[in-house]
């Protein structure tokens, strides 16, 4: 649809080359050039009140080592790490048992995992706020049952942020792991059982290694977005924590320090590439097929 916007090319080029040209142009205009623009901007200076000065400067990159920024990185990484661990701990067994269900139930369960995606994630996070707040569903229920006297402070803390992150990202983990478990040949597990392995041993030595690609893909799919999902920490954490996503937004809009925002974006992209690099190395996948 969007392709129609591109000017038709008059370059005489044969077959595959001609077919590829609009795509290359498109990628250049909409991906490569903006990225280059961000890269250049990150080496410039902030103007006093508004805009940027076209002077070369490493100020932004130097400022990255400021303890405040290092702490933001640390906090983002820690939250992303915990989110990944919890989604894996919950998602793997979920996917495993789903794959053992009769086909009819299996498709229903998978459908139920995908359905919430049709609603905006912001709206779903507001749902959590209604559950967790002082006069919310959980507190009212606990008070009604006489378990507690005064409402628990469930909202606006790190725990609430973690719950929201795990909730928002767990479908990525379940679907990736499910794919690789579904591909696993049950005969392999049966063989190990025939050879005397216990259920646990068969699971750890056959099922888990055979589904490693799915686990890795799930981890990458959860880890990378969790660095940037700043609205979860804003809404459930009361904006009291600052993640990399918040920081970039802040630098661009509030502090009006565009070079700094650009430098942070470059660092974030580099980190993403490192994570994908590790994934490729560990999983042995040449392409990103497991992820895409």
């Amino acid at each position: 649809m969007k392709k129609q916007k591109l000017p038709s090319t008059h370059v005489s080029c044969q077959g595959a080359c001609a077919a590829r040209l609009p795509f290359i142009l498109w990628t250049m205009v909409f991906v490569a050039i903006p990225l280059l623009y961000i890269l250049c901007m990150s080496f410039m200076k902030k103007a006093a009140t508004w805009g940027i000065l076209a002077e070369f400067s490493l100020d932004s990159y130097q400022k990255l080592f400021d303890p405040v920024y290092v702490k933001v990185f640390g906090q983002s990484m820690w939250l992303a790490f915990l989110t990944t661990v919890f989604t894996l701990l919950i998602g793997y067994p979920f996917a495993y048992f789903t794959s053992k269900l009769p086909p009819k139930w299996r498709s229903l369960v998978l459908l139920l995992i995908i359905v919430p995606f049709w609603t905006n994630s912001l709206v779903r996070i507001y749902g959590w706020m209604i559950l967790l707040r002082s006069q919310g569903v959980i507190n009212s229920l606990l008070i009604m049952l006489g378990i507690i006297d005064s409402p628990l402070k469930l909202l606006y803390n790190f725990g609430a942020v973690l719950v929201g992150m795990v909730y928002a990202l767990i479908p990525f983990m379940i679907l990736s792991v499910y794919n690789s478990i579904a591909k696993l040949d049950p005969a392999l597990v049966e063989a190990s059982r025939d050879l005397g392995a216990s259920r646990w041993r068969a699971f750890w030595t056959v099922t888990v290694p055979m589904t490693r690609a799915g686990i890795m893909a799930g981890c990458v799919l959860v880890f990378i977005p969790s660095v940037g999902l700043f609205f979860v920490s804003d809404l459930l954490g009361g904006a009291k924590t600052m993640l990399l996503g918040n920081l970039i937004k802040n630098e661009l809009l509030t502090a009006r320090n565009w070079p700094m925002g650009a430098a942070l974006s470059i660092v974030m992209m580099t980190m993403t590439m490192i994570v994908i690099g590790i994934y490729k190395k560990v999983s042995g996948e040449k392409s990103l097929e497991g992820i895409v």
């Binding site: 969007k2 498109w26 990628t27 909409f30 991906v31 903006p34 902030k46 006093a48 009140t49 508004w50 805009g51 400021d66 405040v68 920024y69 702490k71 933001v72 906090q75 707040r133 002082s134 006069q135 402070k153 909202l155 606006y156 804003d234 009361g238 904006a239 009291k240 924590t241 600052m242 918040n246 920081l247 802040n250 630098e251 661009l252 809009l253 509030t254 502090a255 009006r256 320090n257 392409s287 990103l288 097929e289 992820i291 895409v292």
Partner: protein, 343 residues
Amino acid sequence: MKNSKKWIAAVLAAIMVLTLGMTGCSPKEEKVLNIFTWADYFPADILEEFTQETGIKVNYSTFESNEEMLMKLESGGEYDLVLASDYIIDIARGENLLAKLDKEQIPNFANIDPGFQGKFYDEENEYTVPYAAGIPLIIYNPEMTDLDIKGYEDLWDSSLADSIVIMDDARNVIGITLKTMGESFNVTDAAVLEQAKEKLLQLKPNIRALDYSTPYNLMISGETAVGYMFTSQIITCLNENPNLKVVYPEEGLGFGIDSCFVPETAPHKDNAFAFLNFILDGERSARISDQIFYISCNTAAADYLENKVLSISSEMIEGAEFIKDVGEATEIYDSIWSEFKLN
């Protein structure tokens, strides 16, 4: 191509981002007015009435923040009328983006309360029409605290641990900290700001949440005992729970005016002047204030206002201080804010 899906996704995302900047463009028809402001800031019934009376079609584009507005205006967005905050208008004027108003086309200009005119961003009243004024105030729930709150200093009281919602805004919150120290909202001296930082960090244990756009939810639902928020949000709280108490902090008020201006590049300037004259009419201006809950800047509106509290005398705001652009010091404010959040 194995990873083509990923490319397509990335490219589509890039297109989305790029086209965001183009939403303000419109065909150059005669009877069109392109308005650019926050969502819902001009009430829908006023816009409809304007179209009915004049036949001028209104295109309403929105922005999330003042900075976003200026970025789009600078990158060639064609808007006829922009409504934004004082400090950003000051910056935009410095960048020569404002057109002078043709007051002959705006006879209702005389309705504007002089108390809201001649401010730092438009000393000669050549470029702007004040639309709404806001003063952030403290509100508290007497059922949840025994404290008799008088000013900002009381927010530091140890009895308020984990029970304050405060606006998620560096300038305002660092500003009230400066006020408790007897300083101005617009301090640029790094040493004073350093002291303010130390004091601000002590406030953190009392903060339950930071919220810029919906802090009233936390006051209404009883999540927090005390809040510091804009006038309109205070009124929303009071409408839901009349028992809440409002405090005009004794250390001094912060103050802001949102004003309309016509960009130099506006394709339909006459339509914009017609619209300004239309909304400056006393009765309509009162209807606007009663819907947006901001303080009225229109003397002719006073008699028509249902919420009389929205009409205040110029004397009351005399001591209030504008939050102005602090230039280079913006970075210090922002770094204090980051540290406050991370602490």
